[in-house]
């Protein structure tokens, strides 16, 4: 408890400076801490990308040795779509956090796009040789502010991925400027009219709802059945 106080009002320049120094220190510390955690996130993303890169390389090697291995061994070691999608979510989050580290994030996004393309091509080859029936959606978006429906399209694809965990959705930033991505865009003949979905060899422009996609991709029902069967089989085996 304090006794009564009186004071003169003469300017306390020393206090002004001390307060300024403390406030500036708090700001610098906050910026440093924020930067530190952002860097840790980037390290985490890089590490995940390295893991996926290694997995793909391993898969490619296994694929090359396919003559000596069964398709089952290879198929069991494919990269889960959830890993790629989780990495994509992390990158989206980093991108939404403002302009800091943007060059590093763009670099990571390019690498991510390359991994997606490699996974896509590999899965297509595996599907052909091992008689697998993976279901692909290539999604082209833009976050330069010129695609009003891209956000909605992202939500619809997220909902589909949740319903069909084995669905392989590959999201590409149309404006990323990766040569492999440019080639993919050219091969699939995707115009800059976004959002665009490349499904079953055909490009569809504009927002496609969950129902729309389910209609144009009937294999999704097979996926769902396959997932249910797989779960049932696993459960049976455990017994």
């Amino acid at each position: 408890m304090e006794e009564p106080v009186i004071g003169t009002r003469a300017a306390r320049w020393g206090s002004y400076l001390i307060a300024f120094a403390i406030t500036a220190s708090i700001f610098v510390t906050a910026l440093y801490a924020s930067n530190y955690f952002n860097n840790r996130r980037i390290v985490e993303i890089r590490s995940t990308q390295d893991d996926i890169s290694t997995d793909i390389l391993s898969l490619e090697t296994q694929f090359d040795l396919l003559q000596e291995h069964s398709c089952t061994d290879v198929a069991e070691n494919t990269i889960l779509p959830s890993e790629l999608s989780s990495l994509g979510n992390q990158l989206s989050y980093m991108e939404s956090q403002g302009p800091k580290n943007q060059s590093e994030i763009v670099r990571l996004k390019r690498l991510y796009s390359l991994l997606e393309i490699k996974d896509y091509l590999l899965m297509k080859q595996l599907a052909a040789k091992c008689n697998l029936k993976p279901v692909f959606i290539l999604y082209f978006y833009s976050n330069k502010g010129d695609c009003t429906d891209c956000e909605k399209q992202g939500y619809a694809l997220t909902a589909l991925s949740r319903d069909y965990p084995q669905l392989r959705t590959y999201s590409f930033d149309y404006n990323l400027g990766v040569s492999a991505l440019r080639t993919l865009v050219a091969i699939d003949d995707v115009d800059n009219n976004l959002p665009a979905l490349y499904i079953n060899g055909k490009t569809r422009y504009g927002y496609q709802s969950v129902d729309d996609i389910q209609k144009i991709l009937p294999q999704l029902k097979t996926l769902q059945k396959a997932a249910a069967t797989s779960t049932a089989t696993t459960t049976k085996k455990r017994k």
Partner: protein
């Protein structure tokens, strides 16, 4: 990007002011600690005091107010209680008259003219060396006057403010206000140490009568005569002290509507008086008051409104996205417990620090007046909600001040 830079600049200004107040408080304590014993006041110094109770339709609370004044630990021959019924239409006068049997109590009745006229009426009817006011919705701690009176030994002191707490906070709104009053106690103490108090609150601020007379008595002051009087005292170059242990318990609004009305009046009064006393703003001859305190008080209103508008726009934007998402997916988005997605932007760090500082300042306020080391229980809702509610009355007061609409007490 420009918007974000403005946010950082405003955050820096807000945080700077909080830090400045804390630094000033610590410096004040250190200086007092070094000079302990020298600054202690002679507690036997007991000048004559007149406490004015201006009333307008206060039949329910005035008896409690007068009773609490009669229990003040102060020599009976040196205190008088002047009840001025300012044209009440209820039984206030009759209730007050019941106390006239006590020699210390005098009751007057006059036509309604506002609080400042009631105070001036009492001023004209007293010879006491000190004159104070106790609003008829407040009660005073018995030791309060003995805490305040000795401070007037210093001839430069023109007024002394008390430590104000809330009388029995009951609902969450009152608990929130109680936390706000804790912050008020800290502010009054620190501002007094900086010689920069610019409000002498209605509940039990005591003035040197001769100074009030020299200044020409109380004025309407845009319905905030307590603020106008303090600014006039500061303009004259006199000192306003603070006695945080002189506890007064005041009634507070129970409903948001009443709180809104009260706060609009206070802010309106500040803004209009700021225009009247604009020569003090940024004027270094008024020291800390002119250079930092008054400009910050004004800027903080703008900052609060700016952040409120930004938060509302952000919330609307997020809700629109959420609705779109739910419409498309049919599901609420899952909350992620992944540490990766915890927001660690510098903005949030600074907001966390700022909020913690506010809690610290409230806790200090609570401690220096009551000795209680725990912050008041309303501190959490205060931090969470008060900063969102305050811009509502701040914005309203700004608009009304621009158009000079005037404000009423009730």
């Amino acid at each position: 990007m420009i918007g974000l830079n403005i946010v950082y600049v405003f955050l820096f200004i807000s945080l700077y002011f909080e830090v400045f107040m804390l630094v000033s408080f610590i410096q004040s304590r250190m200086e007092r600690g070094m000079r302990r014993g020298i600054l202690r006041h002679d507690e036997s110094h007991m000048p004559t005091v007149a406490i004015v109770v201006p009333c307008f339709n206060e039949e329910k609370t005035v008896a409690g107010t007068i009773t609490s004044l009669l229990t003040l630990d102060y020599p009976h021959d040196k205190i008088e209680i002047i009840v001025v019924d300012d044209g009440s239409k209820d039984a206030t006068l009759a209730v007050a008259r019941r106390f006239e049997s006590d020699r210390r109590v005098r009751v007057f009745h006059k036509e309604n003219g506002g609080k400042h006229t009631a105070m001036n009426y009492a001023l004209a009817h007293t010879d006491a060396e000190l004159i104070g006011c106790l609003d008829a919705d407040s009660i005073v701690d018995p030791k309060a006057l003995k805490e305040i009176a000795p401070v007037f030994q210093n001839p430069e002191v023109a007024a002394v403010t008390p430590g104000i707490l809330i009388k029995k906070p009951e609902n969450i709104l009152q608990h929130m206000q109680n936390a706000g009053y804790g912050l008020g106690i800290f502010s009054r103490f620190t501002l007094a140490s900086l010689g920069s108090a610019f409000i002498t609150p209605g509940p039990f601020s005591i003035f040197r009568t001769s100074v009030v007379r020299d200044l020409g008595g109380w004025r309407h002051g845009h319905s905030t005569e307590d603020l106008e009087m303090a600014l006039r005292i500061q303009e004259r170059g006199d000192v306003i002290g603070n006695a945080p242990r002189a506890i007064v318990y005041t009634g507070t609004p129970r409903t948001f509507k009443a709180l809104f009305r009260q706060q609009v009046r206070w802010t309106y009064g500040f803004l209009r008086n700021a225009v009247d006393y604009r020569h003090m703003f940024g004027n270094k001859s008024y020291g800390n008051l002119g250079l930092v305190i008054l400009p910050m008080a004004l800027i903080s209103i703008g900052i609060a409104i700016f952040f409120f508008v930004r938060i509302v726009l952000f919330a609307m934007f997020e809700i629109a996205h959420l609705v779109t998402r739910i419409e498309i997916t049919g599901l609420m988005p899952r909350f992620s417990f992944d540490l990766f997605y915890v927001n660690t932007s510098a903005l949030w760090f600074i907001i966390y620090v700022s909020v913690v500082l506010v809690i610290v300042l409230i806790s200090i306020g609570s401690f220096i007046s009551t000795g209680n080391r725990r912050p008041p229980m309303g501190v959490v809702p205060f931090v969470l909600f008060y900063s969102l509610l305050a811009p509502l009355w701040l914005g309203t007061a700004v608009v009304r001040a621009i158009f000079k609409t005037g404000v009423k007490w009730r």
